[in-house]
Assembly symmetry: C2
Homo-oligomer: 305 residues x 2
């Protein structure tokens, strides 16, 4: 298969053009976004949706997440990622396959129909997780394009995927919120060097390969600026698979938490990785037993598994 | 001498009342602050002054700082502090005694008269430094009250000192700006444990003793909130010696830099430390050859030493 987005193959970084649309669908009045929202996402590579969920739904989601993070005992051990230097749970992967309420969240029409419109295809969950970023000692997450990793390490062919972060705690400017470089999604910044096998085991805690170079990051940030959407629990931040993003550490007492869903177009399923010989495991990058999301209407509730 | 602010003496933290005024002066129309500014500082423990310096003065100050940080060769070696894990210069201490322009800055009437009003006394420079916090890898600085350290480690008797940070680079919400807990200056949070001798050598890079406990920090932040003043180069952020403050790390490409001056009331000169037997060296906490600042009018320029 042709590699349209080569990266980690030379010792020099390049800014290559994006070859794929950002909004794959054609807007009509029936679309689940307004025309203005659709344009905003196209131009900026992200979009914030408020008031998608009511207070009871948000409370239920927070309660479910708190239970899972505090008692991850029933989950597949490899999907539970702890903070560097502590046993505190930082992320639980493949959560939509391990928990009924999170499966429903991923299918919820208020989210999945937006993904189906933007990607103009049936969609499936490429990756899901619950993230908990504690206060006081929360570590930074360095700048990266998700697509660069998903392409090189997972074999995602094209830019036809997006992420949704459903905030479960208040995001303020001070507690290490997601920072995005709006507009950076329209260029593809290649990274230098090669990817070692089994890189994912350390990269989930600290990224060392597939890291953008400082000169290119400065160029992108100087041209486009940096935004950090803030919001109350329940806010949904949608962002393109190729937007440059990261987050600072967090010394405030206020933790961050979110449910994180990556929707990929069914036609953009994973191939053989373009970098390492061995693909990452299924709980990080779904490859087996792919099923399209079937949009579900109705309120979000805690559910028996 | 009676220890009015005991800390690091027991295994439990306490919130003790502040025994000293915040604004020691009595406001009159001749004061160098408006009555509103004076009240704001009293209530919140910090104040932001914009437009104190003109563009030429700011450019001169930035140029002087850049030269010093890039070529610290002529400076006393112990006053030059490098970043953990690198040789990049993070701070230069005692800069007002090593550089003519910074000496003038400390004496500049637009700053020193404000200090003299708020402290209602002759003032001297307890500590001065140039700070440079690089982008991409800038490390956090954990929450602390300066006074707690100055009292325990340096023997500063009472709360009659303040800091001024003169921004030399733009502070945004994203590049790890100073965070303050407004109102926290009216309580004194004691820390647990003892201070080892020579603690300062490591504490300039990473604080390990005199660290506030998480429960008290959460209490303060929940009651008072957190602010992080942003501003263009030249902005002056004044803050009380006892306000709880810190800063997050900085993965953005945008460095932070400031000139930092601590004014202490002449009547509040250092005594024997209330903690360790040996006081910290003079370049961190001025004890010898104290001279009151003589306010100087006139524009700030680069000057021959």
């Amino acid at each position: 298969m042709i590699d349209h987005y080569p990266s980690r193959q030379t010792d020099r970084a390049s800014l290559l053009p994006r070859l794929d649309p950002v909004v794959h669908g054609t807007w009509t009045p029936q679309a689940p976004l307004t025309q203005e929202q659709s344009r905003f996402f196209d131009e900026n590579g992200y979009l914030v949706l408020e008031n998608q969920f009511d207070a009871a739904e948000i409370a239920a989601l927070q309660a479910e997440a708190a239970t899972l993070l505090a008692h991850p005992a029933g989950l597949k051990p490899e999907t539970v990622i702890t903070e560097r230097n502590s046993k505190e749970v930082r992320s639980i992967f493949e959560i939509h396959r391990q928990n009924a309420m999170l499966a429903w969240l991923a299918a919820d029409a208020r989210l999945s129909e937006v993904a189906r419109y933007l990607l103009a295809d049936d969609v499936y969950i490429h990756q899901s997780r619950l993230n908990y970023k504690p206060g006081f000692q929360g570590k930074e997450f360095y700048w990266h394009s998700d697509f660069e990793t998903w392409h090189v390490e997972d074999g995602m062919p094209r830019m036809r995927a997006l992420s949704m972060s459903i905030l479960l705690a208040r995001n303020t400017p001070h507690n290490g919120p997601l920072m995005l470089i709006p507009g950076s999604h329209k260029e593809y910044l290649t990274c230098v060097g090669e990817t070692p096998d089994d890189h994912y085991k350390s990269s989930l805690k600290k990224q060392e390969y597939g890291v953008p170079d400082e000169d290119s990051l400065a160029d992108l940030a100087n041209r486009h600026g940096i935004v950090a959407p803030t919001g109350e629990p329940g806010t949904v931040v949608i962002f393109d698979c190729n937007i440059m993003h990261g987050s600072n550490g967090n010394i405030t007492p206020f933790p961050r938490a979110n449910a994180f869903l990556v929707y990929n177009a069914l036609s953009n399923r994973l191939e053989k990785p373009f970098g390492p010989a061995t693909p990452r495991p299924d709980f990080i990058a779904a490859r087996k037993d792919i099923e399209p999301v079937r949009p579900m209407a109705g309120p979000l509730k805690r559910r028996a598994a």
